[in-house]
Protein backbone atom coordinates (compact mmCIF):
# COMPACT_ATOMS: atom_id res chain seq x y z
CA UNK A 1 0.00 0.00 0.00
CA UNK A 2 1.32 3.44 -0.83
CA UNK A 3 2.14 6.11 1.77
CA UNK A 4 -0.16 9.09 2.26
CA UNK A 5 0.27 12.23 4.32
CA UNK A 6 -1.79 15.41 4.52
CA UNK A 7 0.23 18.29 5.93
CA UNK A 8 -1.18 21.54 7.27
CA UNK A 9 1.49 23.74 5.73
CA UNK A 10 -0.12 27.05 6.71
CA UNK A 11 -2.94 27.40 9.24
CA UNK A 12 -5.17 30.50 9.29
CA UNK A 13 -2.09 32.54 8.43
CA UNK A 14 -2.40 36.20 7.61
CA UNK A 15 -0.38 37.58 4.71
CA UNK A 16 0.25 41.24 3.99
CA UNK A 17 1.57 41.80 0.45
CA UNK A 18 4.10 39.08 -0.31
CA UNK A 19 3.14 35.44 0.18
CA UNK A 20 5.42 32.42 0.58
CA UNK A 21 4.27 29.21 2.23
CA UNK A 22 6.58 27.12 4.40
CA UNK A 23 8.93 24.87 2.36
CA UNK A 24 7.56 21.34 2.54
CA UNK A 25 9.74 18.31 1.77
CA UNK A 26 7.90 16.00 -0.56
CA UNK A 27 10.66 13.96 -2.16
CA UNK A 28 9.13 10.63 -1.10
CA UNK A 29 5.83 11.36 -2.85
CA UNK A 30 4.86 10.73 -6.47
CA UNK A 31 1.95 13.09 -6.49
CA UNK A 32 0.76 16.11 -4.54
CA UNK A 33 -2.31 18.30 -4.28
CA UNK A 34 -2.15 21.80 -2.81
CA UNK A 35 -5.50 22.74 -1.25
CA UNK A 36 -5.81 26.48 -0.69
CA UNK A 37 -8.60 27.67 1.57
CA UNK A 38 -8.72 31.44 1.26
CA UNK A 39 -10.64 32.41 4.38
CA UNK A 40 -10.44 36.20 4.33
CA UNK A 41 -9.74 38.67 1.56
CA UNK A 42 -10.52 42.37 1.59
CA UNK A 43 -12.96 43.52 -1.09
CA UNK A 44 -11.17 44.69 -4.21
CA UNK A 45 -8.06 42.59 -3.55
CA UNK A 46 -6.62 39.66 -5.49
CA UNK A 47 -4.43 36.74 -4.43
CA UNK A 48 -1.98 35.26 -6.92
CA UNK A 49 -0.12 32.06 -6.01
CA UNK A 50 2.50 30.29 -8.14
CA UNK A 51 3.53 26.71 -7.42
CA UNK A 52 7.29 26.56 -6.90
CA UNK A 53 9.77 23.66 -6.73
CA UNK A 54 13.11 23.57 -4.96
CA UNK A 55 16.01 21.11 -4.68
CA UNK A 56 16.95 22.28 -1.17
CA UNK A 57 14.11 24.32 0.34
CA UNK A 58 16.01 27.56 -0.25
CA UNK A 59 16.27 28.08 -4.03
CA UNK A 60 12.92 28.24 -5.83
CA UNK A 61 11.82 27.81 -9.43
CA UNK A 62 8.33 28.42 -10.84
CA UNK A 63 6.59 25.17 -11.75
CA UNK A 64 4.10 26.86 -14.08
CA UNK A 65 0.83 26.39 -12.23
CA UNK A 66 -0.78 29.63 -11.01
CA UNK A 67 -3.86 30.07 -8.78
CA UNK A 68 -5.71 33.40 -8.77
CA UNK A 69 -8.53 34.27 -6.37
CA UNK A 70 -10.54 37.48 -5.98
CA UNK A 71 -12.83 36.24 -3.20
CA UNK A 72 -12.75 33.65 -0.38
CA UNK A 73 -12.78 30.22 -1.98
CA UNK A 74 -11.31 26.72 -1.74
CA UNK A 75 -9.16 25.75 -4.74
CA UNK A 76 -6.51 23.16 -5.55
CA UNK A 77 -3.54 22.43 -7.77
CA UNK A 78 -2.50 18.87 -8.77
CA UNK A 79 1.22 18.18 -9.15
CA UNK A 80 3.48 15.40 -10.39
CA UNK A 81 7.18 15.17 -11.34
CA UNK A 82 8.36 17.62 -8.70
CA UNK A 83 11.66 17.87 -6.86
CA UNK A 84 12.22 17.62 -3.15
CA UNK A 85 10.46 20.73 -1.85
CA UNK A 86 7.14 22.42 -2.65
CA UNK A 87 5.69 25.81 -1.81
CA UNK A 88 3.28 28.48 -3.03
CA UNK A 89 4.64 31.97 -3.60
CA UNK A 90 2.97 35.16 -4.79
CA UNK A 91 1.23 38.20 -3.42
CA UNK A 92 -2.02 39.75 -2.38
CA UNK A 93 -2.66 43.03 -4.18
CA UNK A 94 -5.45 45.62 -4.20
CA UNK A 95 -6.97 48.08 -1.78
CA UNK A 96 -6.03 46.44 1.53
CA UNK A 97 -3.61 43.77 0.22
CA UNK A 98 -4.26 41.46 3.15
CA UNK A 99 -5.62 37.91 3.32
CA UNK A 100 -5.86 34.88 5.59
CA UNK A 101 -5.49 31.38 4.25
CA UNK A 102 -5.03 27.75 5.23
CA UNK A 103 -2.87 25.64 2.90
CA UNK A 104 -2.95 21.86 3.02
CA UNK A 105 -0.69 19.55 1.04
CA UNK A 106 -1.90 16.02 0.28
CA UNK A 107 1.02 13.73 -0.63
CA UNK A 108 0.94 10.18 -1.94
CA UNK A 109 3.64 7.82 -3.05
Amino acid sequence: MRQFHAAIVEFRRGFDGAIATHPYESGWADEAVFFVELEELSVGSTVRLAVQLSPDGLRWVDEGTVLELDQPDHVMARLTNFGGFLRLAGEVTGTAHRCTMTVRLALKG
Partner: protein, 311 residues
Protein backbone atom coordinates in the same frame (compact mmCIF):
# COMPACT_ATOMS: atom_id res chain seq x y z
CA UNK B 1 21.09 -6.99 23.80
CA UNK B 2 17.90 -8.06 25.47
CA UNK B 3 15.53 -10.55 23.85
CA UNK B 4 13.00 -7.96 22.68
CA UNK B 5 15.59 -6.26 20.51
CA UNK B 6 16.42 -9.41 18.58
CA UNK B 7 13.16 -9.27 16.65
CA UNK B 8 13.59 -5.66 15.64
CA UNK B 9 14.83 -4.49 12.22
CA UNK B 10 18.54 -3.80 11.85
CA UNK B 11 17.86 -0.06 12.07
CA UNK B 12 17.35 -0.55 15.84
CA UNK B 13 20.61 -2.45 16.34
CA UNK B 14 22.11 0.26 18.54
CA UNK B 15 19.07 0.49 20.79
CA UNK B 16 18.75 -0.95 24.30
CA UNK B 17 15.02 -1.39 24.95
CA UNK B 18 13.19 -2.73 27.99
CA UNK B 19 11.57 -6.16 27.71
CA UNK B 20 8.41 -5.21 25.83
CA UNK B 21 8.10 -3.08 22.70
CA UNK B 22 5.18 -0.65 22.42
CA UNK B 23 6.17 0.94 19.09
CA UNK B 24 9.20 0.82 16.82
CA UNK B 25 9.26 3.61 14.24
CA UNK B 26 11.82 3.86 11.46
CA UNK B 27 10.84 6.84 9.33
CA UNK B 28 11.95 5.07 6.18
CA UNK B 29 8.55 3.43 6.58
CA UNK B 30 6.53 6.64 6.63
CA UNK B 31 5.29 9.05 9.30
CA UNK B 32 4.39 6.06 11.53
CA UNK B 33 1.72 7.96 13.44
CA UNK B 34 3.83 11.03 14.24
CA UNK B 35 2.28 14.41 13.40
CA UNK B 36 2.26 18.08 14.34
CA UNK B 37 1.31 18.85 17.93
CA UNK B 38 -1.62 21.21 17.49
CA UNK B 39 -4.13 22.75 19.92
CA UNK B 40 -7.69 21.52 20.49
CA UNK B 41 -9.96 23.20 17.93
CA UNK B 42 -12.97 23.07 20.23
CA UNK B 43 -13.85 26.77 20.37
CA UNK B 44 -16.39 28.80 18.44
CA UNK B 45 -15.83 28.36 14.68
CA UNK B 46 -13.17 25.77 15.54
CA UNK B 47 -11.03 28.28 17.42
CA UNK B 48 -8.11 26.86 19.40
CA UNK B 49 -8.72 26.07 23.07
CA UNK B 50 -6.01 28.35 24.44
CA UNK B 51 -4.67 31.67 23.17
CA UNK B 52 -2.17 32.63 25.88
CA UNK B 53 0.49 31.91 23.30
CA UNK B 54 0.18 31.12 19.59
CA UNK B 55 -0.04 27.32 19.39
CA UNK B 56 -1.18 27.29 15.75
CA UNK B 57 1.90 28.29 13.79
CA UNK B 58 4.71 26.02 14.90
CA UNK B 59 6.76 24.70 11.96
CA UNK B 60 5.18 21.72 10.19
CA UNK B 61 6.58 18.22 10.70
CA UNK B 62 7.63 16.29 7.58
CA UNK B 63 9.47 13.29 6.23
CA UNK B 64 12.93 14.46 5.26
CA UNK B 65 15.84 13.14 3.26
CA UNK B 66 18.09 15.70 5.07
CA UNK B 67 18.96 17.43 1.80
CA UNK B 68 21.26 20.46 1.81
CA UNK B 69 22.28 23.04 -0.80
CA UNK B 70 25.94 21.97 -1.10
CA UNK B 71 26.06 18.48 0.42
CA UNK B 72 23.04 17.10 -1.35
CA UNK B 73 21.09 14.37 0.38
CA UNK B 74 22.49 13.31 3.73
CA UNK B 75 19.88 10.63 4.31
CA UNK B 76 19.20 9.06 7.69
CA UNK B 77 21.13 6.72 10.00
CA UNK B 78 19.72 3.60 8.40
CA UNK B 79 18.24 4.70 5.09
CA UNK B 80 16.95 7.84 3.40
CA UNK B 81 14.19 9.34 5.55
CA UNK B 82 13.90 10.84 8.99
CA UNK B 83 11.19 12.82 10.75
CA UNK B 84 12.01 16.53 10.49
CA UNK B 85 10.90 19.11 13.02
CA UNK B 86 11.62 22.70 12.12
CA UNK B 87 11.01 26.27 13.19
CA UNK B 88 9.26 28.84 11.07
CA UNK B 89 9.80 32.31 12.56
CA UNK B 90 12.31 34.06 14.87
CA UNK B 91 12.49 33.33 18.57
CA UNK B 92 11.68 35.70 21.41
CA UNK B 93 14.31 36.47 24.01
CA UNK B 94 14.96 33.74 26.54
CA UNK B 95 12.93 35.43 29.30
CA UNK B 96 9.83 35.75 27.11
CA UNK B 97 7.13 33.20 26.20
CA UNK B 98 7.88 31.30 22.97
CA UNK B 99 7.20 33.47 19.92
CA UNK B 100 4.75 32.30 17.24
CA UNK B 101 6.42 29.80 14.92
CA UNK B 102 9.65 29.64 16.94
CA UNK B 103 9.22 25.95 17.75
CA UNK B 104 8.47 22.71 15.90
CA UNK B 105 6.84 19.74 17.64
CA UNK B 106 5.85 16.20 16.73
CA UNK B 107 3.71 13.82 18.78
CA UNK B 108 2.59 10.21 18.66
CA UNK B 109 -0.51 9.14 20.59
CA UNK B 110 -0.40 5.77 22.38
CA UNK B 111 -1.80 4.22 25.56
CA UNK B 112 -0.11 2.78 28.62
CA UNK B 113 -0.03 -1.06 28.56
CA UNK B 114 -1.64 -2.97 31.42
CA UNK B 115 0.86 -3.62 34.18
CA UNK B 116 3.58 -1.29 32.86
CA UNK B 117 6.00 -0.31 35.59
CA UNK B 118 8.78 1.31 33.57
CA UNK B 119 8.89 3.15 30.26
CA UNK B 120 11.80 3.95 27.96
CA UNK B 121 11.76 6.37 25.03
CA UNK B 122 14.80 5.96 22.76
CA UNK B 123 15.67 7.78 19.58
CA UNK B 124 18.45 8.55 17.15
CA UNK B 125 18.50 12.28 16.46
CA UNK B 126 20.58 14.94 14.72
CA UNK B 127 20.21 18.70 14.98
CA UNK B 128 21.39 21.58 12.82
CA UNK B 129 20.56 25.05 11.57
CA UNK B 130 19.02 25.73 8.16
CA UNK B 131 21.88 26.65 5.85
CA UNK B 132 20.32 29.91 4.69
CA UNK B 133 23.38 32.09 5.38
CA UNK B 134 27.17 31.73 5.35
CA UNK B 135 28.94 30.70 8.53
CA UNK B 136 28.24 28.17 11.25
CA UNK B 137 24.82 27.98 12.89
CA UNK B 138 26.07 26.18 16.00
CA UNK B 139 24.42 28.75 18.30
CA UNK B 140 21.22 29.20 16.27
CA UNK B 141 19.24 26.63 18.26
CA UNK B 142 17.80 27.44 21.68
CA UNK B 143 16.91 23.87 22.53
CA UNK B 144 15.56 20.51 21.55
CA UNK B 145 14.08 17.83 23.71
CA UNK B 146 11.66 15.03 24.31
CA UNK B 147 8.90 14.52 26.82
CA UNK B 148 6.04 12.12 27.32
CA UNK B 149 2.50 13.13 28.22
CA UNK B 150 1.14 10.58 30.70
CA UNK B 151 -2.03 10.26 32.72
CA UNK B 152 -2.70 7.53 35.25
CA UNK B 153 -5.58 7.17 37.71
CA UNK B 154 -4.37 10.06 39.86
CA UNK B 155 -2.24 12.44 37.85
CA UNK B 156 -1.38 13.93 34.51
CA UNK B 157 2.38 14.32 34.35
CA UNK B 158 4.96 15.11 31.69
CA UNK B 159 8.48 13.86 32.33
CA UNK B 160 11.03 15.00 29.80
CA UNK B 161 14.47 16.40 29.04
CA UNK B 162 15.59 19.55 27.21
CA UNK B 163 19.01 20.25 25.80
CA UNK B 164 19.66 23.98 26.05
CA UNK B 165 22.11 24.69 23.26
CA UNK B 166 22.24 28.50 23.34
CA UNK B 167 20.51 31.32 25.20
CA UNK B 168 20.19 34.63 23.39
CA UNK B 169 23.23 33.75 21.30
CA UNK B 170 25.48 32.52 24.13
CA UNK B 171 26.45 28.83 24.11
CA UNK B 172 25.05 26.77 26.98
CA UNK B 173 25.17 23.05 25.93
CA UNK B 174 23.54 21.75 29.10
CA UNK B 175 20.66 19.42 29.83
CA UNK B 176 17.56 20.16 31.87
CA UNK B 177 14.77 17.89 33.00
CA UNK B 178 11.16 18.82 33.66
CA UNK B 179 10.86 19.24 37.42
CA UNK B 180 8.01 19.83 39.86
CA UNK B 181 6.99 23.47 39.56
CA UNK B 182 6.00 25.78 42.39
CA UNK B 183 4.08 28.04 40.01
CA UNK B 184 0.31 28.30 40.27
CA UNK B 185 -1.97 27.91 37.24
CA UNK B 186 -2.02 31.68 36.58
CA UNK B 187 1.74 32.06 36.71
CA UNK B 188 2.23 28.92 34.62
CA UNK B 189 0.00 30.29 31.81
CA UNK B 190 1.76 33.66 31.62
CA UNK B 191 -0.60 35.56 33.87
CA UNK B 192 -4.02 34.27 32.99
CA UNK B 193 -5.41 30.94 34.11
CA UNK B 194 -6.48 28.83 31.18
CA UNK B 195 -6.63 25.26 29.98
CA UNK B 196 -3.02 24.62 30.99
CA UNK B 197 -2.69 23.68 34.66
CA UNK B 198 0.67 24.18 36.32
CA UNK B 199 3.14 21.63 34.95
CA UNK B 200 1.19 20.79 31.80
CA UNK B 201 3.02 21.33 28.49
CA UNK B 202 6.30 22.52 30.03
CA UNK B 203 7.82 22.83 26.57
CA UNK B 204 5.98 26.11 26.08
CA UNK B 205 4.45 27.11 29.46
CA UNK B 206 6.00 28.15 32.73
CA UNK B 207 7.67 31.54 33.15
CA UNK B 208 11.04 31.75 31.41
CA UNK B 209 14.26 33.33 32.67
CA UNK B 210 17.32 34.96 31.04
CA UNK B 211 19.56 31.95 31.82
CA UNK B 212 17.39 29.58 29.78
CA UNK B 213 15.58 28.03 32.72
CA UNK B 214 11.82 28.02 33.24
CA UNK B 215 9.40 27.52 36.12
CA UNK B 216 9.17 23.89 35.00
CA UNK B 217 12.83 22.95 34.51
CA UNK B 218 15.82 21.97 36.64
CA UNK B 219 19.42 21.74 35.42
CA UNK B 220 21.33 18.51 35.61
CA UNK B 221 24.33 19.02 37.85
CA UNK B 222 26.67 17.56 35.27
CA UNK B 223 29.17 19.59 33.29
CA UNK B 224 28.10 20.98 29.88
CA UNK B 225 27.80 18.29 27.22
CA UNK B 226 28.67 19.48 23.73
CA UNK B 227 26.83 17.31 21.23
CA UNK B 228 28.21 16.76 17.74
CA UNK B 229 27.37 19.80 15.66
CA UNK B 230 30.11 19.12 13.12
CA UNK B 231 31.97 21.82 11.19
CA UNK B 232 29.27 23.08 8.87
CA UNK B 233 25.47 23.24 8.94
CA UNK B 234 25.09 20.51 6.31
CA UNK B 235 26.98 17.77 8.16
CA UNK B 236 24.86 15.95 10.71
CA UNK B 237 25.65 13.09 13.07
CA UNK B 238 23.07 10.70 14.52
CA UNK B 239 23.15 10.48 18.30
CA UNK B 240 21.18 8.29 20.68
CA UNK B 241 18.85 9.52 23.43
CA UNK B 242 17.20 7.22 25.98
CA UNK B 243 14.91 8.42 28.77
CA UNK B 244 13.64 5.90 31.34
CA UNK B 245 10.69 6.58 33.63
CA UNK B 246 9.35 4.80 36.72
CA UNK B 247 5.61 4.77 36.07
CA UNK B 248 4.62 3.58 39.55
CA UNK B 249 6.68 6.06 41.59
CA UNK B 250 6.33 8.77 38.88
CA UNK B 251 10.05 9.37 38.98
CA UNK B 252 12.95 9.56 36.56
CA UNK B 253 15.12 6.46 36.38
CA UNK B 254 17.79 7.44 33.88
CA UNK B 255 18.78 9.44 30.84
CA UNK B 256 21.47 8.69 28.29
CA UNK B 257 22.49 11.19 25.65
CA UNK B 258 25.16 10.63 23.02
CA UNK B 259 28.31 9.73 24.98
CA UNK B 260 27.06 10.31 28.51
CA UNK B 261 24.73 8.91 31.15
CA UNK B 262 23.28 11.82 33.09
CA UNK B 263 22.44 11.63 36.79
CA UNK B 264 19.07 12.69 38.16
CA UNK B 265 19.01 13.97 41.73
CA UNK B 266 17.40 11.54 44.20
CA UNK B 267 13.62 11.66 43.84
CA UNK B 268 13.64 13.83 40.70
CA UNK B 269 10.13 13.97 39.25
CA UNK B 270 8.01 16.27 37.12
CA UNK B 271 4.90 18.14 38.26
CA UNK B 272 1.99 15.89 39.20
CA UNK B 273 -1.15 17.68 38.03
CA UNK B 274 -4.76 16.70 38.54
CA UNK B 275 -6.10 14.45 35.79
CA UNK B 276 -7.87 15.86 32.73
CA UNK B 277 -11.10 14.44 31.28
CA UNK B 278 -11.07 11.69 28.64
CA UNK B 279 -7.33 10.99 28.52
CA UNK B 280 -6.85 8.40 31.25
CA UNK B 281 -3.99 6.05 30.36
CA UNK B 282 -2.61 8.09 27.48
CA UNK B 283 1.07 7.80 26.60
CA UNK B 284 2.13 10.48 24.12
CA UNK B 285 5.82 10.94 23.37
CA UNK B 286 6.71 14.40 22.01
CA UNK B 287 9.84 15.77 20.36
CA UNK B 288 10.44 19.48 19.97
CA UNK B 289 12.97 21.98 18.68
CA UNK B 290 13.23 25.69 19.34
CA UNK B 291 15.09 28.53 17.62
CA UNK B 292 17.26 30.97 19.57
CA UNK B 293 17.37 33.82 17.06
CA UNK B 294 16.19 34.46 13.51
CA UNK B 295 17.87 31.46 11.83
CA UNK B 296 15.54 28.48 11.44
CA UNK B 297 16.69 25.25 13.05
CA UNK B 298 15.96 21.59 12.47
CA UNK B 299 15.74 18.41 14.52
CA UNK B 300 15.94 15.18 12.52
CA UNK B 301 14.67 11.98 14.19
CA UNK B 302 15.90 8.84 12.44
CA UNK B 303 13.87 6.38 14.51
CA UNK B 304 12.04 6.05 17.82
CA UNK B 305 11.64 2.99 20.02
CA UNK B 306 9.14 2.99 22.89
CA UNK B 307 9.60 0.06 25.24
CA UNK B 308 8.29 -0.93 28.66
CA UNK B 309 8.57 -3.42 31.45
CA UNK B 310 6.08 -5.07 33.78
CA UNK B 311 8.73 -6.14 36.27
Amino acid sequence: MQSSALALPISFAGYDPLERILSADDFDRGMSGWLDLRPNFTGRDFAAHDHRIDLEHWGPTMLSSATFPFAGTHGSASGTYSLKLGTRWPAARADQPPAPGSMGLAIKRLATPIGATRLRIEALVAATAVQDRPGLGVDAMRSFGLLVDLQDAEHRWMPGVRWVNAVDGAPERRWQYYAATTADDVGWSYGEAGWHRAGIDPQWFGRRYPDGSTDGTAWFGDQPQPLIYNETDDKINWMRLALTIDLRARRYLGFEAHDRSLTFPEGAAPTLADPYANIGGLLNPVFFVEADGDQPVTLFVDSVLVSWSDR
